[in-house]
Every structure is written in structure tokens, then in C-alpha cells.
């Protein structure tokens, strides 16, 4: 039996250079994530190794080797280049989890453009906001989502190209991109990208304003490769399944880059949640490493240990989780159902890689986030002084000393917004935690109004703006409400304009409007119609009071309120 070096062993003399050396990178030399995940792996003698087992909800399957990946990413890159897409252009991938998403992501990087993955369940307003902000030049989509693109295209003057990967009746200005129909490009000259060349643009939500584009660079590869290898414990003979959608950072950092930079076989299921089908998928592909999320684990818990026992899950070797804190109950349930610990990992879009982790072999303390990854200096800061707290168990702001390779380089069009998150050389994550006497971090909660629902961050401003566009809504506030499965869900408080009356039908109508315009994630799961909202004397709505009410917490100082 292979055992991995301990956390303490890994810490000894760690330097990110170790990862760069394993990747064959030299200071100042070329770095290209697309090439490293394909050509380089083929060059290591794995050209015929399976890179991807893909299956959809209908049971359709496809399999790709690393050589297929190499050639198809070349093909993708060449087509974009031939059509006029240039290095530095933002190319949005707006696709379900189809193979073209994974291939296209790396193809865009190979040609030196910036890949902008977006969650395909986004409605047209959410899509427009993010494409408009990024000045996106090209979008790659599929028939199922083409309608949303068409409805907003006129409002996107920078959007020059619409590529469609499957059968659809295309209109003028739309270009087919069916990989099976294109001549395979065996040789492609990868763009001369270096460590600081922009690579991936992921949108993430904050308390104020519209979502922000987190700008990653090719250097992130160094962090993503080594964290995938050590924390996910990826080995050459593994079959790895990452549940995350590449519309979010986990789905790219670890659902594409980390795994394939290690030359590991991935399995991808393009289907919604279903416990029985998920277990059947693990059994069929002999998944050995599974990176899931607390929400999914809690849904599996609802279906019981017995269902897990009905499937052959003996291939599972290592389990990890990300998205929101993994509660102790879920860790204990995992032990019972799978005979293994779920290893919680903590990180966010801006960090690009896991930063606080439960290492394989390290004692898992159910409910803890684990310890900082080697090379990451993490602390909790006093909320007033922003100095590290040394007292065990005292809650403060989670912060990371700047300078790890995958730290984003800023927010697109909003460097000032990003700089506000840096205090005294610390990147302040926006979450609160404490550290125990043994160095384990314990999550306490968010430090702002962002709603973490099912592991996805949703900004209240975007929801409130959309609510205000409904003809019945006079004022609105969106806050988190506790939820057993998703940790938090969106709840909206709404005052109505004269002439409108609160009713179940109106609530449903407003819910559906938000779902279609933004997404199911952003849709309030409950709307409470109220006569007024708590405001400061300057008229600003005070969300924290509403949130505190939902969580049954003290509402704090209300002396500055207008209607207290």
C-alpha cells in the first residue's frame, strides 16, 4: 500500500519552486496551461492513456486519450485563430459539461486568449452583466443556450463571434464549431505565454456592485498542480471525479487544470443530482478520488447509507470536499457510508488554489477546515487592528500573506476593488474563523453580506437590482437564510408599490422572474412581503438585521437606524 508523506514532511523546506521544477518550468520561461495539460503529458509517454471518461444523463458516453486532448485542443485553438480571435481576447465558454467545454477551455489558453467560463444555468441578465464587463469578444455555446445569447447579443458591441458546438439552425454571424467535422490539427504553435500572461477570468460575487472578474494568470498552474497532487492525493492510476461545474473555479482549477497537469484520468458526468446514478457512475468508472461538495454530500445523506451499500464503491480511495464548511455530521456519515473521511478544503475564486486543507494522512477533526497548505501563510486577523490573533479559539478574519502563485492579479476593470481586500500585505478573504492550539482552522462565518448557497457565492446587489425591475416591487433586500442542505439560501424581503397585494401567486411570479433572469441559485427560496425595511438615517437598507433575524442571532447596534 502506498502512503503519502505526512503534512509535516511536506512542510519541511517547502518552496513553490519544487512544483515548478516538477512541471519543467524555468524562471522567465514559457508557461501555458493548455500545453502543460496536453502536449506535456503526451511527451511523458501518456499519449494513449485515457484523459476523460464522459457520460451524460442519457447514458451517452465518450472517451478521450491525452493525445485526443492534445489534437482537439490544437484544433479548437486553430479554428478560433483562423476566425480572427486574438491573444488577450476574452472567450466565454457557456456550455453544459460537454467534452467541448473541457477541450475548448484548454484550446483558448493554447492560443493565448483569456478563457471566461460561465455557469450555463445563468439567465440572460447574469450572462449579459459578465460579458459586458469583460468586453467578451467570442462566446462558445450550444444549441440549448443559444437563445439566451441571441437575446442579448445586440447589447454586446464587443461580442464579435458566436461559436456553436452542436447541431443548430444557425443565423448570420454564428459559426459552427463541431469538433468532429473539423480537420484534426496535429501540430499547433502554442502562444508564447509566460507566468504573468492572463489565463482565466472567473466572475465572483461581492457584497456591493455587480460580480467581479477575478483575473488569473498562467502561473496559477504551479499551485494547482501541486495542491491537486498532494491534497487530492492524485496518483498515476487514479480515476478522479470532480463534481464541480467548470463555470466555477473548482471546476477549472481542479476539474481541468490540476488533474490533467498531473496526467490523471478524469470522469465527468453531465447530469443533475441523483444519488443512485452518482453511485452507479462511481462504480462503473471505478472512481478512486472524489472531490465533492457539502451540499451534494448532505443530499446523499438524505438517501441513506443503505443506498451507498447497494453499489460497489470499493474503488474509492480518497474523498475531499469544497464549497462551504463541511459539517462534522457529514464527515461522520462519510465514514459510515464509504469507510473513508471526507477531507475538507478551503479556498476561493481569488486564491486560485486550495489554501487551508485537510491533508491525506492528517488527523481529520470533523468540522475543521484543516491547516494551511505548505507555502501558504494563513492567519486570522483581529478585526480592528488587522494583526494576527495568537490566542487559540478567538475568531478573526481569515487572511493570507500575499504572493502565492495562483493569487489573482486583480479584478477586471476594478483594481481598486481588489486592492481594498489587501491590508498590511494580507489578502483578507472575507470569511471568519478561529485557530485551535494545534493549528487547525475552524470556520465561523462570512464577514460580509454575500450568500453562500450550495457552495456558490451569490451577491445580494445583483438580486436586489433584478427584484426592483419587477413592477410590483418598491424596495428589496436579499439576505442569507440558513438551510439544512445548501447551508444558506437566498431570502428576499420586499415592500410593494401601491396597488399590489402580497400573495402566494405574486411570490411565485417574482421567484420565477429572478430564476429566469439570473439563475436558480439567485432565486429567493422565500419572499417575505413587509411594510418597510430597516434603514440607516441616510436611507441605506441594513441587511445585517434581516440576516440576524433569519439566523436567530442578536441584531447588534441599531442606534443609527431610521425606523428603530
Amino acid at each position: 500500500m502506498i502512503t503519502s508523506p505526512s503534512y509535516e514532511d511536506r512542510l519541511q523546506g517547502f518552496d513553490w519552486r519544487q512544483s515548478a521544477d516538477e512541471l519543467g518550468l524555468t524562471p522567465g520561461g514559457p508557461v501555458n496551461i493548455g500545453r502543460h495539460c496536453t502536449d506535456r503529458i503526451c511527451g511523458l509517454g501518456k499519449a494513449r492513456k485515457t484523459a476523460l471518461h464522459w457520460e451524460d444523463f442519457r447514458g451517452e458516453t465518450r472517451t478521450y486519450t491525452f493525445d485526443d486532448l492534445r489534437v482537439l485542443t490544437n484544433t479548437f485553438a486553430q479554428l478560433l485563430e483562423d476566425q480572427g480571435v486574438a491573444a488577450g481576447d476574452r472567450v466565454c465558454m457557456f456550455l453544459d459539461r460537454v467534452p467541448e467545454l473541457y477541450i475548448g477551455f484548454l484550446g483558448v489558453l493554447k492560443m493565448g486568449a483569456i478563457v471566461q467560463p460561465l455557469f450555463s444555468a445563468f439567465g440572460e441578465d447574469s450572462l449579459w452583466t459578465r460579458l459586458d464587463d469583460a468586453g467578451t469578444r467570442a462566446i462558445v455555446t450550444q444549441k440549448k443556450h443559444l437563445g439566451k445569447v441571441r437575446r442579448i447579443r445586440e447589447k454586446l458591441p464587443n461580442l464579435a463571434y458566436v461559436f456553436v458546438v452542436d447541431d443548430a439552425n444557425l443565423r448570420d454571424g454564428e459559426t459552427p464549431l463541431r469538433l468532429d467535422d473539423l480537420p484534426r490539427v496535429e501540430t499547433y504553435t502554442v502562444a508564447p505565454t509566460t507566468a504573468e500572461t492572463p489565463s482565466v477570468l472567473h466572475y465572483t460575487s461581492g457584497t456591493t456592485g455587480q460580480p467581479k472578474g477575478a483575473q488569473h494568470v498562467h502561473n496559477s498552474l504551479i499551485s494547482q498542480y501541486i495542491t491537486a497532487k498532494w491534497v487530492l492525493d492524485l496518483r498515476d492510476d487514479d480515476v478522479y471525479w470532480c463534481n464541480a461545474d467548470p463555470g466555477w473555479v473548482t471546476g477549472t482549477s481542479y476539474g481541468i487544470i490540476g488533474a490533467w497537469a498531473n496526467g490523471v484520468t478524469q470522469a465527468v458526468l453531465d447530469a443533475g443530482f441523483n444519488s443512485d446514478k452518482w453511485y452507479a457512475f462511481i462504480a462503473k468508472y471505478r472512481v478512486s478520488v472524489w472531490y465533492s461538495a457539502p451540499t451534494a454530500i448532505r443530499l446523499l445523506m438524505k438517501d441513506g447509507v443503505e443506498l451507498a451499500k447497494q453499489h460497489d464503491l470499493s474503488s474509492l480511495r480518497h474523498l475531499a470536499s469544497v464549497g462551504e464548511p463541511l459539517n462534522a455530521e457529514a464527515v461522520l456519515w462519510g465514514r459510515e457510508a464509504y469507510g473513508l473521511d471526507f477531507h475538507d478544503t478551503y479556498w476561493q475564486t481569488e486564491t486560485g488554489c486550495m489554501v487551508v486543507t485537510n491533508f491525506p494522512g492528517m488527523e481529520v477533526r470533523p468540522g475543521s477546515m484543516g491547516k494551511p497548505f505548505p507555502g501558504i501563510t494563513a492567519a486570522v486577523l483581529d478585526e480592528q487592528t488587522h494583526e494576527p490573533i495568537t490566542e487559540p479559539g478567538r475568531v478573526g478574519l481569515i487572511a493570507l500573506r500575499e504572493g502565492w502563485p495562483s493569487q489573482i492579479r486583480g479584478y477586471w476593470n476594478n483594481m481598486a476593488g481588489y486592492r481594498k481586500k489587501i491590508v498590511n500585505g494580507w489578502y483578507v478573504c472575507g470569511d471568519r474563523a478561529s485557530i485551535d492550539k494545534d493549528g487547525y482552522f475552524w470556520f465561523s462565518g462570512r464577514d460580509d453580506d454575500v450568500i453562500n448557497t450550495g457552495g456558490h457565492l451569490v451577491g445580494p446587489f445583483e438580486i436586489e437590482s433584478a427584484l426592483l425591475e419587477h413592477p410590483a416591487v418598491a424596495e428589496s433586500a436579499a439576505v442569507a437564510k440558513p438551510d439544512k442542505v445548501n447551508m444558506e439560501v437566498v431570502k428576499a424581503f420586499v415592500t410593494l408599490k401601491p396597488g399590489f397585494e402580497a400573495s402566494g401567486d405574486l411570490e411565485l411570479e417574482i421567484m420565477n422572474v429572478i430564476r429566469k433572469r439570473l439563475s436558480g441559485l439567485a432565486m429567493p427560496q422565500e419572499i417575505e412581503f413587509v411594510d418597510s425595511l430597516p434603514k440607516t438615517r441616510s436611507g441605506k437598507i441594513v441587511r445585517r438585521i434581516l440576516r440576524a433575524q433569519e439566523f436567530g442571532e442578536p441584531i447588534g447596534d441599531v442606534s443609527s437606524l431610521m425606523n428603530d
Partner: protein, 83 residues
Amino acid sequence: MDELKTTILEYVIDEYVEEDDDIEVDFETELISGGLVDSFSMVSLKRFLENKYKIQIPDADASPEAFDSVNSIAALVERFRNA
């Protein structure tokens, strides 16, 4: 039962299928596992059923499996209408 199924099917098509989508939805179509309705959006579908049929569906019964097709949703509604 047929009327119930038809009402649910029409609602699903009206609310979850885009005008220019070329998607066929019938009583058996996999709504959740097929990606047409996600687990968050399921809540508005549940709310529609509760408003329309004056029932309360406990969260424990509102599973992705129970909402995975018009047929299974209709069976769920029928159970609570007769409760």
C-alpha cells in the same frame, strides 16, 4: 390523474423551456437529472404545486428523485392531495 399530469407538464414547459429551445418534454422526461430543472429551481416548481393544489410538501419529500419527471411529481401531488 391525467389532468394533473397535463397541468404540471404545461407549467414545466411554460416556465422551464425557453421559447426558442427545441426541447421535447413529456411525462417521462428527466427534469432534474436531465438538467432542465436544477435543485434550486425545483423550489419554485414545488411552490407552484403547493399554491395550485393547496397542499404542503415537506422538504423531506421534495427530493430530486421525486421531482425528476412529471409522472413522479404527479404521484407526489396525488399523495398529498389524498393525505
